[in-house]
Amino acid sequence: MRAVITVLGKDMVGILAKASTACAESNANVVEVTQSVLEDYFAMIMLVDIDKLNCSLEEMKNRIEAAVPEMKVHVMHEDIFNSMHRI
């Protein structure tokens, strides 16, 4: 099972590092990362493997939010995207 983490907000130093550290602490393996910076607006999407998570999905979200408190963080199971955008 995989989850999609999105981090949105104003660009600054170390967002990727802090978010991925929080993933590592939760034992979530980062499978893929896409990020884009448009002027000073930062958007990152991470696809992580959550099979061996050492905490709940909610707890992982809390950890990421605590690591990058200025950013808007969403953690969603990948099934929601597959069901909405694939026939």
């Binding site: 999609v4 893929e32 696809l47 709940s56 909610e58 969603m76 929601i80 995207f81 955008h85």
Partner: protein
């Protein structure tokens, strides 16, 4: 890899456009709770509902966290209580209080099914239940009530229509110190669906399985936002197509949540009801969709046509996305719950007569309309009869949920708060209909051939 555009689209829908799962509603049959002793019967009702729904709210919250999608309401619908009241006798309000108590204990926000189906006539328990509705709704907080007074196959029971006019009025009277809120929890149906998950009209039909989970999905804001991005000269075919595609995506999400919830609770999955149900939140409005299609304000000429297209496109998208579409599925037009309709009603663009025409093409009926407090019961009955006739002749569900604003004057506002919103008192035709209503009897079922 899931594409970045799709991910951002989903997140925008949820965050900015109010996409949500409006309700997961567990339907429970109470047939096996019937007992000739009303107290025993109530105890069985409490025990069965509690046993099946004790994890409903927690499961809903867990799914919300997993998918990051809000599930706004968790609710329960039950077998029409008139059946239990017919077996046990006694004061039916005891059942209402039992339902209210169990709803509070398991943490749901509404429980529907204080209902009677009398489209062809009254059987044991029906009349007692209907007469007890005003007290039941005044003495409980979460109980919702509905009465089916007509159907395409049976015609309209005008004795019941007459009675319901009085019941609506009395319900408002008994709750006049609380914005007449009782009447907002009472729906009078024609062709009532048995699997509707939306309140206040939800009940668990007698043709349904023992226990089933139904899901109501919403998202007027998403449809409006999608249309806003479209050029103003795009043809209506393209508009309909875009609505269909958007409805598809929304329904798929409902299907996912419904399947997951039913697996976690060990209850069969019933239906998805894809209804564009507005909320008073700005942007979450069906009126705004109609205005986005190209009307200056909802209620003007062209509204009925735009709504007909919207309602149909929503159904088409929904049917493609799920194998179990049911309930009401379409567009709701509850005046007090829709920011755009409130504005249009205040401006005088949206009138009861126009709303009545709109109900002929949308999924429900005259919904959440505030009437002057001095409206006679016979006039309310006549409004119900008109609406039931539209449903009966067009083989569709219609409903009436009107709130006589006891103690308020025309032009004043009744504010319910929360999802029920607020509505201005709307003008009605003041000429009497009492002689017709007092005749009673039945309107025979309509022809199903020679349709012109």
């Amino acid at each position: 890899m899931i594409n970045m555009k799709d991910i951002m689209e989903t997140i925008t829908m949820i965050q900015d456009e109010h996409l949500d799962i409006r309700t997961i509603t567990m339907g429970i049959s109470l047939i096996d709770c019937c007992d000739s002793d009303i107290d025993k019967s109530c105890q069985k009702v409490y025990d069965k509902i509690y046993r099946l729904t004790k994890d409903l709210v927690k499961t809903g919250e867990d799914i919300e966290k997993k998918y990051g999608i809000p599930i706004v309401n968790k609710r329960i619908s039950v077998t029409p209580i008139s059946i239990l009241a017919g077996v046990s006798g006694g004061d039916p309000v005891k059942y209402a209080k039992t339902l209210d108590r169990v709803a509070k204990d398991v943490g749901v926000n509404f429980i529907g099914g204080y209902s009677a189906l009398v489209h062809k006539g009254f059987s044991a328990g029906d009349r007692e239940l209907i007469e007890s509705i005003p007290r039941a709704l005044a003495e409980t907080d979460f109980v919702c009530s509905s009465v089916n007074v007509g159907s395409t196959k049976a015609g309209i029971n005008m004795d019941a229509v007459k009675l319901m006019g009085e019941v609506v009025k009395e319900t408002a009277e008994l709750t006049k110190d609380r914005q007449c809120i009782g009447a907002a929890k009472l729906v009078v149906f024609c062709n009532a669906p048995e699997d509707n998950p939306f309140m206040a009209g939800a009940f668990h039909g007698i043709g349904e399985p023992d226990c089933v989970l139904n899901v109501g999905v919403s998202g007027p804001g998403v449809v409006r936002a999608a249309l806003a991005k479209m050029p103003k000269d795009a043809s209506l075919n393209e508009v309909a197509d875009l609505i269909k595609k958007t409805a598809f995506k929304i329904t798929r999400m409902g299907q996912l949540v419904g399947t997951e919830a039913s697996a976690r609770l060990g209850v069969p999955f019933g239906i998805i009801d894809l209804s564009l149900a507005p909320t008073p939140a700005v942007g979450d409005s069906v009126a705004y969709i109609l205005e986005e299609i190209g009307l200056e304000q909802c209620g003007t000429h062209g509204t009925t046509a735009a709504l007909a297209m919207l309602n149909d496109a929503v159904k088409k998208g929904g049917v493609m996305a799920s194998s179990n579409v049911g309930g009401l599925s379409g567009a709701f037009i509850p005046v007090s719950e829709d920011a755009g309709m409130i504005e249009a009603a205040k401006a005088g663009t949206l009138t009861i007569e126009k709303l009545e025409a709109m109900t002929a093409v949308c999924s429900v009926g005259l919904d959440m309309i505030v009437l002057p407090g001095e409206t006679p019961a016979t006039t309310i009955s006549a409004i119900i009869a008109d609406e039931a006739a539209i449903g009966m002749v067009n083989s569709k569900t219609t409903a009436v949920r009107v709130i006589p604003a006891i103690g308020y004057k025309e032009g004043e506002i009744l504010d319910f708060g929360g999802l029920l919103g607020s509505g201005p008192i709307m003008a009605i035709n003041e000429k009497a209909s009492d002689i017709m209503i007092n005749r009673g009897g039945k309107i025979p079922a309509p022809m199903q051939s020679l349709k012109n």
